[in-house]
């Protein structure tokens, strides 16, 4: 059954939808967690400390999310390769009636986000790109996440990279989130406009939430 399901277009689309939904869920939780930076140094560092002190929760979650990400990537690329092959001769005159820019650039925005994830992990999780901000500790002797983030974002190159990545993430989510109910077969004519706008609104909220942090650091709201 699994082979038939994964061999079929509709089955694979459903897998992309479910994995996309999980990844979107992670992005929401991750954003909310990070926004605690606006509460100040202590709450953010305490939150990070709390997460680090729960390895039995942290590591399974990381492995699970990585697996979900890889499945999402693998199945989407498989579908995309088939889609290219389905039209070997392109049209001479190309036109688009209603397909959005976001929907036409999903592969590209997805791959950019992948690159960003690698950088983001090197930057904040492994401390490889800016070790000078990574080994700071706060008054209570905890890893000073607050200082690491704020000092990093003061660098225009770093905050610029994050803002750009969030733009691509927003574009990807605006089509991706609205597509989930369609691919999983929950959509119908009545709900379609709601799902479409809810997906776009969610993408925009994520964008605003995440870009508020580098922007706040750049203009000096976060010190």
């Amino acid at each position: 059954m699994c082979k038939e399901f994964l061999g079929s277009s509709v089955g694979r689309k459903a897998v992309v939808g479910v994995t996309g939904f999980i990844l979107f869920g992670f992005v929401v939780v991750h954003t909310l967690g990070n926004l605690q930076i606006f509460l100040g140094r202590d709450p953010l560092n305490a939150y990070a400390y709390k997460l680090q002190s729960l390895p039995w929760l942290l590591w399974p979650a990381r492995v699970f999310l990585l697996a979900v990400l890889l499945v999402h990537l693998w199945i989407s690329l498989w579908l995309a390769v088939e889609n290219r092959r389905a039209r070997p001769t392109p049209y001479v005159f190309k036109d688009t009636v209603q397909a959005t820019l976001a929907s036409r650039t999903m592969v590209m925005t997805g791959l950019i986000i992948l690159l960003f994830i690698v950088y983001h992990l090197l930057h904040f999780t492994f401390g490889a790109t800016n070790p000078e901000f990574f080994h700071l500790t706060d008054a209570k002797g905890r890893h000073d996440v607050y200082a690491m983030v704020v000092l990093s974002y003061r660098n225009y190159w770093i905050s610029g990279t994050y803002l750009l990545a969030m733009f691509f993430l927003c574009l990807h989510l605006s089509h991706g989130v609205s597509s989930i109910p369609q691919s999983l077969g929950w959509n119908d004519e009545r709900w379609d406009p709601l799902f479409k706008w809810a997906g776009r609104a969610a993408a925009l909220v994520i964008f605003m939430g995440n870009s508020s942090m580098p922007l706040a650091a750049v203009v000096g709201i976060l010190k």
Binding site: S8, S9, N83, A86, P90, F93, Q98, A99
Partner: protein, 246 residues
């Protein structure tokens, strides 16, 4: 009205094909797009050139034979109309019109603008039917179907199988076509016995034919001459996922 046509010419399935340019003069704005091509063909025949091959039959928007990509849009710029129902008044005098055949791996070009769309027939043969003994027509009120359901089924059944959905899809996917065929039978009581098997077989066939996969861009819905909604694709997905989980 006068136009400059850029048209795909291809002698046979083996020929590589190329774009050719032709002027057409004195076209009446009330002519249909196909009648304009008739004018061109008469001109070509008189000059001793090979006339252009394009498909047509009813010329009133019900058979789905006409299949032209006009300036990058399947069936041309008019919404909810086939190319045979598209009138030249929708264009400006002096326009350049690019006319191409449907492009998809599953739709090989046979000649000029004519493609082989039998892949769609094979999808229907895989399951787009109900198995009942034929005989005298059953009593009309024997099976009660609500107005809402019958109308929904009719909306899906309006599909004329022209293939514009495939042609316009960025991925050359046949999901709107297949969804329409799956849905109109899944909605009606006559379609129930084979409901789960049907959707599985039709989707398997659709995939085998080399169509692409829907990425929810909805170009198909925009060009469908019968305005079939993409909500039928969601319905087909639902039918398929249900059929797989039982």
């Amino acid at each position: 009205m006068n136009f400059r046509l850029k048209i795909w010419r291809q002698r046979s399935a083996e020929d590589r094909g190329r774009m050719a340019e032709y002027p057409v003069k004195d076209v009446s704005p009330d002519m249909s797009f196909l009648e304009m091509l008739d004018v061109l063909n008469e001109d070509l025949t008189q000059k001793g050139e090979e006339p252009l091959a394009f498909e047509h039959d009813c010329r009133e928007g019900i058979c789905g034979a006409c299949s032209l990509m006009i300036n990058g849009i399947a069936h041309g710029p008019e919404r909810a109309a086939t190319a045979c129902q598209l009138h030249m008044r929708h264009f400006k005098d002096g326009d350049t019109l690019t006319v191409e055949p449907w492009r998809a791996k599953a739709f090989p070009v046979l000649r000029d603008l004519v493609v082989d769309r039998s892949a769609l027939d094979r999808i229907v043969q895989a399951g787009g039917f109900i198995s009942v003994n034929t005989g005298s027509a059953p009593e009309a009120n024997g099976l009660l179907i609500s107005k809402e359901t019958s109308e929904k089924a009719m909306e899906a059944a309006a599909c004329i199988g022209c293939g514009a959905c495939v042609a316009s899809c960025k991925n050359a996917s046949a999901m709107l076509f297949t969804a329409a065929k799956v849905s109109h039978l899944a909605l009606l009581p006559q379609g129930q016995p084979e409901r789960a098997a049907r959707v599985k077989k039709m989707i398997a066939r659709m995939d085998e034919e080399g169509f692409g996969n829907c990425t929810n861009q909805y170009e198909c819905e925009a060009v469908c001459p019968k305005e079939i909604s993409v909500s039928f694709i969601a319905r087909m997905n639902r039918e398929y996922l249900k059929a797989q989980s039982t």
